[in-house]
């Protein structure tokens, strides 16, 4: 039901954006025009077309799809989960290059103020979780401040680096964050304080040797020890459940399966 509704709506949207001549949505030449889909009208026409041109050039050059979509909301389409929303658009619109639908799609829903990245095919590998985090650390401030052109432009800049690197056979790795001297100061104080307290407590303890003997273990007749009663009775058991923290490794990409059964990578958040 959801799927059918989505197809209808997206087709309708396409007709609106691309004019009434959008008969075959799958044709390569027409795809080019909707890789930058500003359905929420966040960009001026010239901004949108400049981004459009850059994206098309990159896709042609590297053979990896790149799509940016802005939506007014996702609730109207019956979605509450931005990940499913992004995946379904990707799958329904048959984005992606080649048999494995290689490509990366960035979706924002304005009313929900949520964003999602959905990757597919080789792009899952190319955009690792760490890379996505790194890219979003630059994009998100622009999204939050409402500078959408800069946000998408930054996204495209970074995507170009990822695609160029992948083309050379190297999976892009985000540069390390610079060492924060604050961490060093905090570690200095915490480690120093803990060790100094333990050490001086140890030194103070050396001075004390007079204390009461708590027990009489030295005087136990070893042959007389007799533990005649030994009873262990099970009373009850209780089980607690805790969500396991998701594994995130810098080199890897986490994946999930979309409603169409295709495997997607990606990340999401709010701004």
């Amino acid at each position: 039901m959801k799927k059918a509704l989505l197809s209808i709506i997206t087709v309708a949207l396409l007709i609106v954006t691309m004019g009434l001549n959008a008969v075959s949505v799958h044709a390569e030449s027409e795809k080019e025009t909707y890789r930058m889909q500003d359905l929420a009208n966040l960009l001026t026409e010239s901004q949108a077309s400049s981004l459009q041109d850059r994206i098309n050039a990159l896709v042609d050059k590297y053979g990896m799809d790149l799509i940016i979509i802005t939506e007014e909301n996702m609730a109207d389409y019956g979605y509450t989960d931005i990940v499913a929303f992004a995946d379904d658009i990707y799958d329904q619109m048959e984005y992606g290059i080649g048999d494995d639908y290689t490509g990366m799609e960035f979706v924002i829903a304005m009313e929900e103020r949520e964003w999602a990245i959905s990757t597919c095919g080789k792009a899952i590998e190319a955009y690792s979780d760490a890379t996505q985090d790194y890219i979003m650390s630059y994009v998100k401030p622009y999204l939050s401040s409402g500078d959408y052109y800069m946000a998408f432009s930054t996204l495209v800049d970074h995507a170009e680096q990822v695609m160029a690197s992948y083309e050379e056979g190297v999976i892009y790795e985000p540069p390390k964050e610079p060492y924060n001297p604050g961490t060093g100061v905090v570690m200095f104080i915490i480690v120093g304080l803990v060790v100094a307290l333990i050490y001086t407590a140890h030194l103070k303890k050396q001075l004390k040797s007079v204390r009461f003997a708590a027990d009489a273990n030295n005087y136990v007749d070893p042959d007389s020890i007799n533990v005649s009663l030994s009873k262990d009775t099970f009373l009850y058991a209780s089980v607690t459940r805790r969500a396991r923290p998701k594994q995130t490794s810098s080199g890897g990409s986490s994946t999930h399966t979309s409603s169409s059964g295709r495997s997607h990578g990606g990340s999401h958040g709010s701004f």
Partner: protein
């Protein structure tokens, strides 16, 4: 006053003392050594002597009453005739005038006779050496305490102890938990199983020593335990020659409570050691009774060392048999701050360097 005893050398008339190395009595003047067995026989003869002497001891009672209030007694030294003032409980001391060792026989007669004694095995020199060893490795000990160390007093004391043979029996109930962890899907599961664990039984104790001297700090005496009773011998006053000795002034009935406490704790520990394979164990109820206490009266060898530093008295004690040395020491606050700052700086730098290394990886 007649009850003062000196062991005179049958050879030269000098005063014989117990020698810790030889474990015999030895005359310091002519180097003659005496077997303890020989002195025991001599001892018995001497006791007969004192009984004979009681008749002319007329002034004794009067003097006793006079000194009762102060808790002091006076004796007359048999060697030089000087008056020896000693505490009511003193059993052996030395004459302040001629230095001869004297033993107050009446303190160890009849019901007051100790059942056993562990003779001193370590002498004054060993005690002094152990004190220096005790200072070693104590980083916060004030330098001046170590350097300007003048011992006010060093004395070998036979301290009266009550040795209790007891039997503890009872039941302890614990609440114990076992944890089992596993993962399934996106969740970690923890199963806590709660058990009621009961342990019961009994155990015997041999010779739990409780100090029977009011003067000796109980924690100090408990700190130098244990003594090796296999070296204990039947009491003879000759062992006291050359040392100080006190008779008990805390009765066995008064001290038995402490022995019971310790026995009870030990039985609890024995039970606790059998409660294994649990993640947590909390005692919930304990019912232990200690009974069948019979007490032996023993004199155990202790070296007591006293020193004064900055107006405070510091007392050390050494087990005169095993050499176990205890005594709290003063702390140099300046040194403490120095070590605090130093360890803070070193550990802090290592901590900061580690955080940088972790960032590099």
């Amino acid at each position: 006053m007649s009850t003062l005893q000196e062991y005179k050398c049958p050879c030269c008339g000098g005063k014989v003392e117990f020698d810790t190395t030889l474990q015999k009595c030895k005359c310091p003047f002519c180097d003659t050594e005496y077997e303890m067995e020989a002195l025991k026989a001599y001892d018995e003869d001497l006791q007969n002597d004192t009984e004979d002497d009681t008749n002319w001891n007329i002034g004794d009672k009067e003097e006793w009453n006079l000194d009762e209030e102060t808790g002091l007694r006076s004796y007359v030294c048999k060697s030089c005739g000087g008056e020896i003032i000693a505490e009511e409980t003193t059993g052996a001391t030395s004459c302040p005038y001629c230095g001869n060792p004297v033993i107050m026989m009446e303190q160890f007669k009849g019901l007051l006779k100790p059942d056993l004694v562990i003779p001193f095995k370590l002498d004054k020199k060993a005690a002094k050496a152990k004190l220096l060893e005790h200072y070693k490795g104590k980083k916060l000990l004030p330098k001046t305490f170590r350097d300007e160390n003048h011992l006010d007093e060093i004395k070998g004391v036979y301290v009266p102890f009550w040795l209790f043979n007891t039997e503890a029996s009872g039941i302890v109930r614990y609440k114990a938990t076992k944890l089992r962890c596993w993962s399934s899907g996106d969740y970690d599961y923890t199963e806590t199983s709660v058990y009621s664990v009961v342990r019961g039984g009994d155990v015997k104790f041999n010779n739990i020593p409780i100090d029977g001297s009011e003067r000796m700090a109980d924690d100090l005496m408990e700190s130098i335990e244990p003594f090796d009773y296999s070296e204990a011998v039947d009491f003879q006053t000759a062992y006291l020659s050359g040392f100080l000795a006190d008779k008990y002034d805390v009765s066995d009935e008064e001290t038995i409570k402490r022995a019971d406490e310790r026995a009870k704790r030990s039985l609890e520990e024995i039970f606790r050691d059998t409660v294994t394979e649990y993640s947590t164990v909390t005692p919930e109820a304990s019912s232990i009774k200690v009974e069948g206490a019979d007490a032996k009266y023993a004199l155990l060898p202790v070296w007591i060392l006293n020193t004064t530093y900055n107006g405070t008295n510091y007392t050390f004690a050494m087990n005169g048999q095993t050499g176990k040395f205890v005594g709290d020491l003063p702390m140099d606050k300046g040194l403490k701050n120095k070590y605090f700052a130093l360890s803070f700086a070193i550990a802090g730098i290592i901590g900061a360097a580690l955080s940088y290394l972790i960032w590099l990886i």
